[in-house]
Amino acid sequence: MDDQQNSDKNNTSAKDRLSALWQVVSVPVAAVLLALLIGAVILAVSGANPIEAYAALLEGSFGSMAAFGRTLSKATPLIFSGLAVAFAFKAGLFNIGAQGQLLFGALASAVAGFAITGLPPFLHTTLSLLIGATAGALFAYIPGALKAYTGAHEVITTIMLNYVAINITDYITDGPLKDTANGNIVARTPEILDSAKIPYLGEIPAGFLLAILAVVVVWWILQRTTLGYEIRTVGLSPHAAKYAGMRVPFTIILTMVISGFLAGMGGAVETLGIVGRYQPGFNVGLGFDGITIALLGKTSPFGIIPAAILIGAMKAGASTMQFEAGVAKEITDVIQALILFFVTADMIVRKLIRSKTENGTGVTLSGWGQE
């Protein structure tokens, strides 16, 4: 929402814009600090030294170029899934199904990665990425169409479709497309060809740059195109959108499809850049983390980047923390849960930091059973 203000640069001074920015970021920043604080208390109670633990976490995520690269590669699929959830939010849709769309994206890109042969590297990677993203988009079409034509609430349908996705991908990887090389008995697909792999640029995974590009493109669509204006109008007021002559059902479906495309791309990037094949269990939670990240990033495309890097850093540094400070790495999950708690219960945080109520920066969702 803050982006809309940008259109009127002449009337807003730099100071006003800075304070407007603070209005937006104060709650997420405070939520993260609060979560870390409570995490420290939990660490202390369980007998560990919180400072030591956090130092190790920091070292494991930003302490070296390798650690930083690890953080970025963890953050990469999260940017996509966060973007997917945030994009749907703009049309007033809560896409809980990013996880399922991401799984199909991961599997489809893996299949493209090992089954298509004879392509030059760049082309093969691009094609596999697009196939993965398209798989996510097609899967997201289902809840989109259900919502647009029957009014079925997307929260319910996407939750259920997540199970559909988990079971179908499990079946495929343990059945028709199971890797049979070298007497393998684990449920997984064959490894993708080298030509499909996403390369690293030094320590920086190329997928991360792709994620940044996706952020810019999504921002541009939302703020600079008529399609984005339609999506935001449908999200803020479906009735006004109808009055304005917009095709509300079409916009809802298209938004879900683009959201699923982004989620699928997240799964594809993880497969082609990190895992190298589809293996159930490797992508667990990436889609759900997208919800935390979208909310932490205030559903603004550019807010997604720092939010995803933060969560990525905790994932990247967790092992170092466990190794050096002797605390269970699950503490990072606790901190992440606390962040989600404080971001959603933002009234608590606002009370604590005495921030004024923001206007129009919240997430608008259509209620249960509405048209």
């Binding site: 929402m1 809309q4 203000q5 259109s7 009127d8 009337n11 807003t12 600079r224 195109t225 008529t226 399609l227 984005g228 204006y229 109008t233 803020l236 007021s237 009735h239 006004a240 109808k242 009055y243 304005a244 002559g245 206007n359 129009g360 608008t364």
Partner: protein
């Protein structure tokens, strides 16, 4: 002398020198007024004059910065609504605070439940409610579900709720804004009845006729200050309007006789079903000519809403045809209508007319955002064109706002309506449909919007005006169509129409018998 002493003894509430500041604004500046026992005291002022703020201070929702309150001639501290209720102050808000799926009785006792052991004693509650409603002559069925009640009766439940809590000072915040003329009359009867029983009423409004009709005394506010006290017997509508606005206001619409030209909108045998598949518009036919205003009068719920929704592309029709400049229009295609010269000021400006979270610039292109120069062929928006268009419209239509970048939701109702009017009237139009164009607006804004509508007519646009205010229909229209139970009973020349005759037809009298 004796009279003066008596006066002071009879005060139910006295507000002395109350000042309430918000960051950057003084909402109430040294406000004083007194409410006598058993009187209806009107608080008159334009939107944003500080009436509601003052009442929220009285009700304990805001704390005053300066000043004091006297109830029964004693200084009291009101630190919250519960204090206010204890002092016998009851408030009926503009938007009702009722639970739609609860019965009347359940709503009444909400917050002060009558219990027997651990369970609700609804039987006793019902008995008490019936006693009160009989005592004050306010009939309601305690077992009726609130959502099934008409708005006027819901309001009655709100009033009873306050009385149930022993209120003897009743604050009514713009109570007629949501009522039909008949319901408003009923409310005035109820108000008079209540004052007979010793209840004192503060009546917040900006409708002059209502004050002249029902109030005993009037306090007029402008920009947070009390600008005067008067009595209906000592003034008239013009005098009140001048006090309220601070300048002479045209209450009568000035217009020359219409010069109707060719038919621009023709409706033939239109039938429309509502959501429950019940026919609510039955075989309606009429036409509108360029350069005339057709008023559609009718009590709410007689099919006008559905008729207008079908005309403006928001609703499908079962059968019939609508011709716009001779061409049959497709149903449920608002964009077709925008592109073929139809302007629509919708009934509900918050639901359809504006996106409140959007800034004014985005709202001024709500239905033309995709056209040149606001967007290129490649669907890329041109922010600069949108902004300069908005700045021009804000100036031309005198929208009072800090600029095109502020959210529409932060403007007053009058200025929000001006944004819609600016957007719709600035397009090349053949037909304009204005549905309740001045609902909830203050006198100054009403004057402005009426002038603009007349101007559109004189520029050769065919105009349809729908309003719950008969006066608005009478003063704007060149011809008047009366709707009753989904049919157009008759269409008459506005010249020959009288309030009384229209009222009878709206209530179902047969014009052929007249």
């Amino acid at each position: 002398m004796t009279e003066k002493i008596q006066k002071e003894e009879n005060l139910a509430l006295e507000v002395r020198h109350v000042t309430k500041r918000f960051p950057g604004v003084i909402a109430n500046d040294d406000v004083s007024f007194s409410l006598k026992k058993g009187e209806i005291h009107a608080l008159l002022g334009e939107n944003g004059a500080g009436k509601s703020t003052l009442m929220n201070v009285v009700y304990g929702l805001y704390a005053q910065d300066e000043g004091e309150f006297l109830i029964d001639n004693k200084v009291v501290e009101i630190n919250g609504p519960s204090d206010a209720i204890n002092y016998g102050i009851g408030m009926v808000h503009q938007h009702f605070m009722l639970v739609p799926v609860f019965t009347v009785a359940e709503n009444m006792i909400l917050g002060s439940e009558v219990t027997k052991g651990t369970s609700l004693d609804l039987r006793r509650a019902k008995k008490e409610i019936l006693e009160i409603s009989e005592a004050y002559g306010l009939k309601v069925d305690p077992d009726a579900l609130v959502e099934n009640l008409p708005v006027g009766v819901q309001q009655r439940v709100e009033i009873l709720k306050a009385l149930y809590r022993n209120a003897n000072i009743l604050v009514l915040d713009e109570p007629t804004a949501v009522l039909t003329p008949q319901e408003a009359e009923d409310l005035f009867d109820v108000m008079r009845e209540l004052t007979q029983k010793g209840v004192s009423i503060i009546f917040i409004t900006h409708k002059l006729k209502e004050i002249l009709n029902v109030a005993d005394r009037v306090t007029v506010m402008r920009r947070g200050k009390v600008v005067g006290h008067t009595k209906p017997s000592e003034t008239d509508a013009q005098g009140l309007a001048t006090m309220m606005v601070g300048r002479d206001v045209l209450l009568q619409v000035e217009k020359t006789p219409a010069k109707p030209k060719e038919v621009v909108l023709e409706v033939n045998h239109l039938k429309i079903n509502d959501e429950r598949d019940i026919e609510v518009v039955k075989n309606v036919s009429f036409n509108v000519r360029a350069g005339e205003i057709l008023g559609i009068a009718g009590i709410q719920g007689n099919g006008q809403t559905e008729l207008i929704e079908a005309l403006t592309g928001l609703r499908d029709a079962k059968s019939g045809e609508i011709h716009l400049s001779g061409e049959i229009i497709p149903f449920e295609k608002p964009r077709y209508l925008v592109e073929h010269g139809m302007g629509h000021v919708p009934e509900d400006r918050h639901k359809h007319g504006l996106v409140l979270a959007y800034n004014l610039a985005d709202n001024t292109v709500l239905n033309t955002y995709y056209q040149k120069p606001f967007a290129s062929k490649m669907m890329v928006r041109n922010d600069q064109a949108v902004l300069s268009n908005a700045i021009e419209l804000i100036k031309r239509f005198d929208v009072r706002s800090p600029g095109a970048h502020v959210a529409a939701g932060t403007l007053s109702g009058g200025n929000q309506q001006k944004v819609i009017v600016a957007r719709e009237f600035s397009r090349p139009l053949k037909v304009l449909i204005a549905n309740q164009p001045t609902r909830g607006l203050d006198v100054g804004s009403i004057e402005y919007i009426h002038k603009e509508i007349i101007k559109m007519r004189d520029d050769g646009v065919g105009v349809i005006v729908i309003s719950a205010e008969l006066d608005e229909i009478l003063s704007l229209s060149d011809r008047i169509a009366i709707m009753f139970r989904g049919e157009i009973v008759t269409i008459i020349d506005a010249e020959s129409a009288t309030r009384e005759q229209l009222g009878l037809w709206m209530a179902g009298a047969n014009p052929e018998m007249a």
